[in-house]
């Protein structure tokens, strides 16, 4: 187990390093200088580049960037020199994280409920209905869900606010738009494993001992059926981050995703690089934790690693 943890952490560090390197050099390869502005003269352009250290060779810039990164310093925005990238992240990350966290909790709950329902129901209409629902849920991009929800509930029915995050109600539509896709995937995962597990001997045994279906399902089967879900949650975190790009810009929520989309529009390279690195790190760390958690929870994996 310790060997596995060490290996897994080493891999994550390697991934982080690769992410930073590739992201850095890709950003340097982007066309145009961030200060090119039509009425900026050649001299000023050069002195500005000197101030930001852009006149030095790329490898030296890269070393400086790595050193700063280790100190948690992601540089300053090219477009708004008074803000550092770290400040922007500190301001916007809690908002995005709260949305994403709520969405993944919602998805885990509804996905599990519908998955169990589909697997255990004997009525064709329930099975078919949920199957169709998961099909549609994985077939509709989240920005479409967001736009449609906004159009229908926000604009037509005026039930929920359509912009900002000022009240608890304004969380509802963005969270739903983010949760639809992962709910459908989780429902499908739970349904698949649940159907297999229900045929197992230990379920028959539990039922024969007189334990009710509900208790068997919740305490016995769910424990096994949840392992694949746990493995999905890591990548789902990545999906939620990227999903929040569009959902945040649709509902004008001042989060990380909207900041990223804006910085793409502004060609604010340090901001793009900094946010990419930050999001990459988040995803890699979450993946690391879910992997270790599932290795710790599942005796089969734990034993095979030893």
């Amino acid at each position: 187990m310790q060997g596995y943890i060490g290996k897994r952490i080493g891999m994550s560090i390697l991934s982080l390093f690769m992410l930073v390197t590739v992201a850095f050099f890709l950003t340097r390869m982007m066309p145009g200088s961030p200060f090119q502005n039509g009425n900026v003269s050649e001299d000023i352009l050069r002195s500005m580049e000197r101030e930001y250290g852009l006149d030095k060779p790329v490898t030296e810039q890269y070393q400086t960037y790595l050193k700063n990164l280790l100190h948690g310093n992601l540089g300053v925005s090219f477009k708004k020199p008074e803000v550092t990238v770290t400040e922007v992240i500190a301001r916007t990350w809690p908002i995005t994280a709260s949305l994403g966290g709520l969405a993944i909790l919602t998805a885990a709950f509804f996905g599990t409920v519908f998955g169990i329902w589909q697997a255990s129901s004997k009525r064709l209409i329930v099975k078919g209905g949920i199957f169709l629902g998961t099909m549609l849920g994985t077939g509709i991009p989240n920005f479409v869900v967001g736009l449609l929800l906004m159009l229908f509930f926000g604009v037509r029915l005026k039930l929920f606010p359509i912009a900002g995050l000022t009240s608890p109600q304004s969380y509802i539509l963005p969270v739903i738009s983010l949760a639809v896709y992962p709910s459908a995937v989780i429902a499908r995962l739970v349904q698949n494993t649940f159907r297999v597990e229900m045929e197992r001997d230990y379920v028959t045994m539990a039922r024969a001992k007189g334990i009710g279906f509900r208790q068997t399902a919740l305490t016995h089967i769910l424990k096994n059926a949840w392992i694949p879900v746990l493995n999905y949650i890591g990548p789902a975190a990545a999906f939620l981050l990227t999903g929040s790009f569009v959902v945040e810009s649709i509902f004008t929520i001042p989060g990380l995703g909207r900041e990223f989309v804006n910085s793409i529009g502004n060609r604010d390279y340090t901001m793009i690089l900094g946010l990419t690195v930050f999001m990459g790190i988040t995803v890699i760390v979450i993946n690391l934790f879910t992997d270790l958690l599932s290795a710790w929870l599942d005796p089969r994996i734990r034993r095979s690693l030893r």
Partner: protein
């Protein structure tokens, strides 16, 4: 028996839907009297009529033609990337699986490292470097799109390579390339095809997302994502302009998912 029928039903539905979409995407832009980029100030934002089945947008462009032109691009991105990722994944996975040992460990660890980075971030950076066109979208998607498939292929090859028919072929003097091509891959084709099928909707999703964010296909060309993005500015006044590309996009993804699920059910029997 019933399960088999149901599996076929999904497959059938998906195939029919996809065939209809492909036909429309190929035929409509080719034979329509309107072009996807011709603007006409006299008919801005007109609603559905006999001449313009889906109406026109704010520049007076025919939405019907634009939607099917966009479907063409989405299909191109989806199928193109599935083919490239499919080829890469099969090659990589079969080399790793057949070689085994140290080579296998190194290759698969490398794949793990590439896979652990959220690919969308890369795709966005690549789009910014190489410009907004179909080529750079394909490149971006294919950087990490092949990895899941290569794991499947590797698993299949490892499972099959020590079975009798394969040992016999090796003893008869067949080269590794021939064994992979003629003996291993045809046997492991089922799971591989299912995985390739699911690559298509994933790529279409990514492309629509990119175009929606504003780094995808650039004007005047249009994918379904671009169309949705463009109609967003006036969605309160003309909601139907958004509805048509949305419907087609969802049907497209749904049809591919149906085909994948149908194949999966059939293979599971």
């Amino acid at each position: 028996m019933k399960a088999l029928y149901r599996g076929n039903f999904l497959l059938m539905m998906g195939t029919i839907l996809l065939a209809v979409l492909i036909l429309l995407a190929v035929l409509v832009p080719a034979f329509s009297s309107y072009s996807y980029q011709a603007q006409d100030v006299n008919i801005q934002n007109s609603s559905s009529s006999f001449l313009h089945i889906f109406g026109t947008d704010k520049f007076g462009r025919d939405i019907f033609v634009r939607v099917w032109y966009g479907t063409r691009i989405s299909l191109l991105v989806g199928i193109g990337s599935a083919l490239i990722c499919g080829a890469l994944g099969i090659l990589y996975g079969s080399i790793a699986g057949y070689a085994g040992g140290k080579a296998d460990i190194i290759l698969m660890r490398l794949a793990d490292v590439i896979d652990s980075i959220p690919s969308l971030l890369y795709v966005i950076l690549i789009m910014l470097v190489l410009g907004s066109n179909v080529g750079s979208i394909l490149l971006g998607i294919c950087i990490s799109g092949w990895i899941e498939l290569s794991r499947v292929v590797r698993g299949e090859v490892m499972r099959l390579k020590n079975q009798e028919f394969c040992i016999a072929a090796r003893m008869a003097g067949a080269t590794p390339g021939r064994i992979l091509r003629r003996h291993l891959l045809p046997n492991g084709l089922g799971p591989v095809i299912i995985n390739v099928t699911f690559l298509v909707p994933k790529a279409i999703f990514t492309e629509a997302f990119l175009s929606f964010v504003g780094v995808g296909i650039s004007a005047p060309a249009a994918s379904l994502g671009t169309l949705i993005q463009e109609s967003r500015s006036q969605m309160l006044v003309y909601p139907t302009q958004m509805l048509y590309p949305v419907l087609v996009l969802c049907t497209l993804i749904l049809s591919m998912n149906l085909i994948g699920a149908g194949l999966e059910r059939k293979a599971g029997l």
